[in-house]
């Protein structure tokens, strides 16, 4: 197609112009349209802006410019596959589709094509087991960590005892929403709470019956695994039945400004998980303002800077760029291949000093990735919405997930995958 020809021509041109002009390609499979656009736009903007910042301020990574070809998936798996096929020939270093459905499509494909896949806080949880999933990474935290952190938070505010409490899970009825169920069931055996699950079908605009059930059953806490338009509707519905907001906890995909602002005052006190800091109080925003926004290079409409999901896009880009830098150091070449990128991701070390250097002090947890552990530390914080100040406030430090429960689950699921696909374990 035209795109391929153009891309091939561009590639040929860069090769002809000499090796100094080579590019590091970080494709952005974004979704700026459809019912999930509210989440897709800020993430894509943050991802692209960070890469633009590196290009403008540092001349790329290790002296090699970055290019971010964008492809619209509309959160649709078929379009996601089309995007993957159309961009993989460009020398793409890592894919971050921001969709669990697309991730499941891509896991076998990237493993065959040998391109790394980074699903930060989403995707297939058991990909945390590097022994089985060579090309897939989901550091710094995954869904099961998220579910466990939410329960740990509830334990903390209940003095360590939630036996007999009723907890309802409102989830997006898809691979994404179903992910935490098994963990929450295991945890309910351990802590003795009673779990009810309420599925919300795509796209999630219709939730009357689910909230009616919540109103009838009066659970003590509601945990939500939502995305896109579903979140706003859920917060509004919770407000309508006067469910106490401080007992309503969303996961990190249900904790952005988009989700709470439509409900106005009523959303005050709504809690959500956070895997990184948010807001504009980081030194990096001065650079973004100077090199990206003021230079007129901001991605999209440029109105998302500093929001929760923009921060997440920024974080994803930062981790990708750091992994690329690590790969450059390991292999001693600035122009890395996807295979080298994988080595970089597997040897990634994020320290507090490094984050401070990058202008993001205490933004996320310090962690190390290893051959065995592709999942990172599995920590998250809890944030709470202040409707008057219109901002998220972090109310806890990083909470560690319950490894005793999660490790065996990851082990079981990844082993099943290895058996299904007749894979040999790595890292032996």
């Amino acid at each position: 197609m035209n795109f391929k020809k153009l891309a091939a021509a561009a590639l040929a041109a860069t090769i002809a112009a000499g090796p100094a002009m080579a590019e590091l390609v970080f494709p952005s499979l974004s979704y700026r349209t459809g019912p999930y656009a509210a989440g897709g736009i800020p993430f894509a903007d943050g991802y692209e802006d960070y890469m633009t910042l590196l290009n403008e301020r540092d001349g790329g990574i290790g002296g090699v410019k970055i290019s971010v070809p964008e492809c619209e998936t509309a959160y649709n798996t078929e379009k996601g596959v089309e995007c993957y096929e159309s961009t993989k020939g460009l020398g793409s270093l890592v894919y971050q589709p921001l969709s669990t459905g697309i991730t499941y499509q891509l896991i076998p494909k990237v493993s065959a094509d040998e391109i790394p896949l980074h699903t930060m806080g989403y995707g297939r949880t058991s990909a945390a087991n590097g022994e089985v999933f060579e090309w897939v990474f989901n550091y710094p935290a995954n869904y099961w960590d998220g579910a466990s952190v939410a329960i740990t938070h509830l334990l903390d505010i209940n003095d360590g005892d939630i036996s007999g409490k009723k907890i309802a899970l409102v989830f997006h009825n898809s691979a994404y929403g179903k992910e935490p169920i098994r963990t929450l069931e295991k945890l309910s055996e351990k802590h003795g709470y009673e779990l009810t699950t309420l599925a919300v079908d795509h796209p999630g605009q219709e939730q009357k019956s689910q909230w009616l059930q919540i109103r009838r059953e009066r659970p003590d806490y509601v945990i939500m695994w939502g995305w896109g338009v579903m979140n706003q509707v859920a917060v509004q519905e919770a407000a309508n039945i006067r469910f106490p907001m401080e007992n309503f906890i969303g996961n990190w995909w249900a904790g952005s400004e988009n989700d709470v602002i439509p409900a106005g005052e009523a959303a005050h006190g709504y809690k959500a998980l956070a895997m990184h800091g948010t807001g504009m109080d980081y030194p990096i925003y001065e650079d973004i303002q100077q090199y990206v926004v003021d230079a007129g290079l901001a991605a999209g409409a440029g109105d998302q800077v500093g929001t929760v999901l923009y921060s997440r896009g920024l974080y994803a880009a930062m981790l990708a760029a750091e992994a690329a830098r690590t790969a450059q150091e390991i292999h001693g070449t600035a122009e890395i291949t996807p295979a080298m990128m994988r080595d970089g991701m597997e040897n990634l070390k994020i320290t507090e000093e490094r984050m401070a250097e990058l202008g993001l002090p205490d933004f996320g947890p310090a962690f190390e990735v290893s051959c065995v552990n592709h999942g990172g530390p599995g920590e998250a914080m809890v944030q709470q919405w202040d409707a008057e100040a219109q901002e998220w406030n972090l109310i806890t430090d990083f909470i560690k997930s319950d490894d005793d429960v999660i490790e065996p689950l990851i082990e079981a699921d990844s082993t099943a995958y290895a058996e299904e696909n007749a894979l040999d374990l790595r890292c032996q």
Binding site: M1, R32, C71, E72, T77, A175
Partner: protein, 358 residues
């Protein structure tokens, strides 16, 4: 001049009744088959297979299936997505339960399972017609999707509710799973399309097809002249679902590889298939292909032109794409209410006279 009956003498009834009575048409058909079988497999790459040709071929099967039911037998169905899901899940269960069974047979068996389910949901058609039947099939759509979401047995109790296709080979060449090469994916779909389209064409011009069309045109009259409506309607549901089931199985196993029922086989898929046959032309095999091509290829083409060619922002292009595809559907339906197949018929009439029209 070239496109004419004159000089092409038929000396048997068989010759006279063939699908392509005009020599030019016949050679064009052979040429298309030859290109499809002998040229494209050697030229294809991953992008063309995954984004263009494989979805087109699979949707062509689904469109032929729906066309048999709606176009030939006159029973409106909004359950295509659900029936595709039946095909996909039957395929998955058979693949995992009988790993030794060849994938070709698995897909065909999945088609038979879907045919059974289709007959079951076709039963109401004996009492209700038109819009009422459409609502009954809509119920099938929602029920089937709900079922595959709700009952963990269908997805082998996986944590995410996703089903994913393990690797299966035909003559030692993998056709499902990640190691599949583009040409193998394409060839397996093409073979199914050729055989099924050939079967559909011959079914629709035989006794059974005529009984479908009699029911479509006026069911009471058909019953009076001796067409058994029970047999005609249920056979249309069975054959149609068989085709749709095979499309669903290929959609899951060969094209996507991993599927989540709500997203891959939701109501929008039923509408997509219905748009295909309405735009392509009801009651026409060629129309099914034309409609599938229109609905599958046009968005990809527009995207490549707008984003790849003109370098527009992806969100603007995506919105424009919806606008343009929607506008074109309306335009085609106004310009040619009987679909692209009717347009093609007009072109053929004109071609016969070219270059000396009256």
């Amino acid at each position: 001049m070239f496109y004419r009956e004159a000089g092409d003498f038929k000396t048997s009834y068989q010759d006279d009744a063939q699908t392509f009575p005009i020599k030019f048409d016949r050679y064009r058909y052979y040429a298309v088959i030859a290109v499809g079988l002998l040229v494209i497999p050697f030229a294809i790459n991953d992008y063309w297979a995954n984004a263009v040709l494989v979805p087109f071929l699979i949707w062509a099967i689904a469109a032929i299936g729906l066309n048999i039911l709606t176009g030939y037998c006159g029973q409106v169905s909004l359950g295509t997505g659900g029936f595709m899901a039946v095909g996909a899940y039957a395929c998955y269960k058979l693949m995992t339960a009988f790993p030794e069974l060849n994938i070709v047979f698995v897909v065909i068996l999945a088609g038979f399972v879907t045919a059974g389910v289709g007959v079951l949901f076709g039963l109401p058609s004996l009492r209700i017609k038109g819009f009422y039947l459409a609502v009954a099939t809509l119920a099938a759509q929602f029920f089937l999707v709900w079922l595959f979401n709700r009952v963990p047995w269908f997805y082998n109790y996986s944590a995410s509710g996703q089903i994913s296709a393990p690797e299966r080979t035909v003559f030692g060449v993998p056709v499902t799973g990640p190691e599949t090469s583009a040409w193998a994916q394409y060839m397996i779909c093409l073979l199914f399309v050729v055989v099924l389209a050939w079967a559909a064409r011959n079914l629709t011009r035989g006794t059974i097809g005529r009984s479908w069309m009699a029911i479509r045109d006026m069911d009471i009259a058909a019953e009076i002249i001796g067409v058994n409506p029970l047999r005609a309607k249920l056979s249309a549901f069975a054959v149609s679902s068989f085709f749709v089931g095979i499309a669903g199985a290929l959609f899951f196993a060969v094209y996507l590889g991993a599927v989540e029922v709500g997203e891959a086989f939701g109501i929008q898929k039923s509408f997509l298939a219905l748009f295909m046959i309405i735009i392509g032309g009801l009651g026409s095999i060629f129309g099914s292909f034309a409609g599938a091509a229109f609905m599958v290829l046009l968005p990809v083409l527009l995207k490549n032109v707008l984003v790849g060619g003109l370098g527009w922002p992806t969100d603007l292009a995506a919105h424009l794409e919806l606008l343009i595809v929607g506008g074109l559907i309306v335009f085609f339906l106004i310009a040619e209410p009987h679909g692209l197949a009717a347009l093609w018929r007009t072109v053929k009439e004109k071609l016969r006279l070219w270059p000396f029209p009256h």
